[in-house]
């Protein structure tokens, strides 16, 4: 009996999660990078908490964006090299669903841990304790949108040599709105303002990403496999 599209996507997720836990170095690399950036920054800037607090949204979000870019390189590359993506494309299943599943796993393994570890980094930047939940929520939502946008870039750079550089060049302009709204949400959380407006905008970008990014990534991957 032919497997349904959702079951196929579930299997792709299960496989990727299993693979990730057997090869944890790829998981830890972006997280370590993020923590190092966020920890070193206060040492180089100033010991004054008020000034660090002002810089915190920028540091957290630029760190998160660059860490995500590091991990994006691995999103489809290994699967393309060992022929797994070809088998996905020839499985008779929806490539869109399977790539969406892979993107969700990417977020679960990089974006979410990054958001959850953000309070540790944020403490060093003088972010007040009451703002932590908002910081985590904005980074989690923004990270999901980043993974979706990154999936398109990862698909487009599949066949390119030195795809990592190209991937960054493609992703960064698209990621600017996420960076702006995300940093704004964090800023508002720190100053005790209303975070709903930037969060809605981040949510809208994520919804747009869920709708379009897997389709675009699937089309890009098909071209990349040629």
């Amino acid at each position: 009996m032919k497997t349904g599209a959702l079951e196929a996507a579930r299997l792709v997720m299960a496989r990727d999660l299993r693979l990730a836990f057997r090869k944890p170095s790829q998981l830890l690399q972006p997280l370590m990078f993020f923590m190092i950036v966020a920890t070193l920054f206060p040492l180089t800037l100033t010991p004054e908490l008020s000034r660090l607090r002002d810089a915190a949204p920028g540091v957290l979000w630029v760190g998160a964006l660059l860490s995500s870019l590091l991990a994006l390189e691995f999103l489809f590359r290994d699967d393309a090299q060992d022929g797994t993506l070809e088998q996905f494309a020839l499985s008779g299943q929806s490539l869109t669903w399977m790539l969406f599943a892979k993107t969700c796993v990417h977020w679960l393994l990089t974006g979410l841990p990054l958001a959850l570890s953000a309070p540790l980094a944020a403490v060093g930047l003088g972010v007040p304790a009451e703002a932590m939940w908002s910081v985590v929520a904005s980074l989690a939502l923004g990270g999901f949108a980043l993974s979706l946008i990154g999936a398109i870039s990862a698909g487009l750079t599949l066949g390119a040599r030195r795809g990592g550089v190209l991937l960054s060049l493609l992703t960064l302009p698209l990621a600017v709105p996420i960076l702006v709204f995300g940093a704004n949400a964090t800023q508002r959380a720190i100053t005790g303002g209303e975070i709903a407006p930037p969060m809605y905008l981040l949510g809208a970008i994520a919804v747009l990403g869920v709708t379009l990014a897997p389709l675009a990534a699937a089309a890009a991957v098909r071209i990349g496999l040629e």
């Binding site: 088998q87 494309a89 040629e226």
Partner: protein, 205 residues
């Protein structure tokens, strides 16, 4: 059943496939031969739909394969140069996931296929620890498990020992006896019965 007509394909500035025609009916095996670079792999990939030809058409059951891509792919098993296996997973796990996304597969079926290709003794070892021949046997078990009507095999006997090469020939014979179709790019003689065999030499002007 499988019909390829007037296929033209360029790779960069190289005109690799020059009006290739091919047809195969159930129970028939088409062997693609030719020198290195003659376009055997390219033709297999074009039939599978992984490459877009500049001209010509691949049709399956009388319909253009591109128009009914998912249906065509459901009936197709493609084994390329490198076995599509994840090194960190065991052979059994690889098959469970890769076949599972195509069709419902039981542990017993996987066990039987691994047994059939002689991969059972090392099926629970991480694929990265296996030899190239052992990986090939696991991948062949995957081809069997697809239950596909059309097999596209690129050098299926590569890295296999003499007994392994005989196994490939037997598996192809069995597929043909079931009414399946096999298109295989080969360098070595697979010792198949000639009555079901069509040879297409590529790269001949």
């Amino acid at each position: 059943m499988l019909n390829v007509s007037g296929l033209h394909l360029w790779r960069g500035d190289r005109h690799v496939l020059r009006g290739v025609d091919l047809s195969a009916t159930p129970g028939q095996c088409v062997l693609l031969t030719g020198k290195n670079g003659a376009g055997k792999t390219t033709l297999l990939r074009a039939i599978a739909g992984l490459l877009d030809p500049e001209a010509g058409e691949v049709s399956w059951r009388g319909k253009p394969a591109r128009q009914a891509r998912d249906d065509f792919h459901s009936e197709l098993a493609y084994l390329g140069h490198e076995p599509p296996l994840k090194g960190e997973l065991t052979g059994r796990e690889n098959l469970r996931y890769s076949i599972g996304i195509r069709r419902t597969v039981t542990g017993e079926e996987i066990h039987a296929a691994l047994e059939r290709t002689g991969a059972q003794p090392f099926a629970d070892r991480a694929v990265r620890t296996l030899s190239a021949g052992q990986r090939r046997r696991v991948a062949l078990a995957g081809v069997l498990l697809t239950g596909a009507m059309l097999w596209l095999l690129d050098e299926p006997a590569t890295n296999l020992d003499t007994e392994g090469k005989r196994l490939v020939a037997t598996l192809i014979e069995e597929q043909l006896a079931r009414g399946g179709i096999v298109v295989a790019a080969v360098h070595q003689d697979l010792d198949l019965s000639a009555n079901r065999l069509v040879t297409l030499e590529l790269g001949v002007p």
